[in-house]
């Protein structure tokens, strides 16, 4: 079983070297391949990726986090990987946690492995973000009738059979709405406790403006995912 870990990056030049070093130190090339997706960065991200000799593709313009993930998914489908995972490039995820997710996926008992900050002893979510995260998790749990503690975590793995669902749902960040659609299509999901560090450098993609729009969009996507009829397939027809 071989997986592809997609690492979307937008203006993350300051964090990339650390993220690459962490992944190289913990993740074996026999387990997974790494694919960085530069999402039209204006800083030196591309130079860093080249200097670090990593495998990457580059959007000529910024398309957004979700589209960068989808580019990685298309790559995974084109190259017959057994599963595709997402790992953030801002230095908040730990590569050692990724191993736990891979282990769960390799057990063959689940199709989707979701990282959860809430299951770990300590987490860095505070204030509105914490409350929002709890609320999204609650809504997702109620709809799927399965307990989720953290749906807004970007660290997750999805088995190939269900990648078609990720490409077809109306989504904004592939969080709660994705889990709703995946459970609806028959995927077996589980959560694995992970630790998330504070962002090391650079700016978050979320701002005051997105903080207002984000919950509205997310709930809209979750509702759309809940009323849709999502079918898993081997998604060969979806590949670009």
């Amino acid at each position: 079983m071989k997986g592809l870990i997609v690492i979307p990056a937008h203006n993350e030049a300051e964090n990339l070297a650390h993220v690459i070093a962490d992944l190289r130190a913990h993740v074996s090339a026999s387990q997974v391949d790494l694919l960085f997706v530069d999402d039209g960065s204006k800083d030196d991200s591309v130079s860093v990726l080249k200097a670090q000799h990593v495998h990457f593709v580059r959007h000529r313009t910024n398309l957004g986090y979700e589209e960068a993930l989808k580019t990685g998914i298309h790559y995974g489908l084109n190259h017959a990987y057994d599963f595709v995972g997402f790992f953030d490039s801002d230095g908040q995820h730990r590569a050692c946690d990724l191993l736990l997710l891979i282990e769960a996926m390799e057990s063959g008992e689940v199709d989707v492995v979701q990282g959860s900050r809430m299951l770990s002893q300590e987490h860095t979510m505070r204030g509105a973000r914490f409350l929002g995260g709890k609320l999204f998790a609650l809504v997702t749990s109620l709809i799927t009738r399965q307990r989720f503690t953290d749906t807004t975590c970007g660290l997750k793995l999805i088995r190939r059979h269900f990648l078609g669902v990720t490409l077809s749902i109306p989504s904004q960040d592939m969080h709660g709405e994705l889990l709703v659609a995946l459970v609806g299509s028959g995927a077996r999901c589980c959560e694995v406790p992970i630790y998330v560090d504070l962002r090391m450098a650079g700016k978050s993609m979320h701002s005051v403006r997105t903080a207002v729009l984000y919950p509205i969009r997310t709930f809209l996507c979750i509702i759309t995912a809940a009323i849709g009829n999502w079918q898993a397939n081997d998604c060969d027809g979806e590949a670009l």
Partner: protein, 120 residues
């Protein structure tokens, strides 16, 4: 409506129609978009020149709608429908754009150890 008001409104409408045709010629508007606005303006021109028509239409409704009410409502409805149509069209174009950017990205894949290509 006084003849002077009719003249000013008619001139404004005709001027806008000429401007739309100019934009169509300059390919800043498509024929479909220009056609929509020309039909809307032509309707406004007819109602400007023959205001009694608005009363006739108003009387067709059981509640005997005031001309200004149904014209405002019809105008607003047309704009909402057209804006919705444009939103969908913009989204279709965006999806095509995303597909092309993605296709290019996947074609220009950078593998470690490969010679650097020209990133123009």
């Amino acid at each position: 409506m006084t003849p002077q008001s009719m003249l000013v409104i008619s001139l404004f409408i005709v001027g806008t129609m000429v401007w739309i045709l100019h934009n169509l010629r300059q390919r800043r508007l498509t024929a479909g978009q220009a056609g929509f606005w020309l039909i809307l303006l032509a309707g406004a021109e007819v109602l400007t020149l023959f205001p009694s028509l608005a009363d006739v239409v108003g009387r067709l409704f059981r509640d005997d709608l005031l001309p200004v009410s149904w014209i405002s409502f019809a105008g607003l409805l047309s704009l909402i429908v057209y804006l919705l149509y444009l939103s969908m069209k913009v989204n279709r174009q965006r999806e095509e754009f995303v597909r092309l950017v993605r296709e290019l990205a996947l074609k220009e894949e950078h593998k470690p150890g490969e010679a650097p290509d020209d990133d123009a």
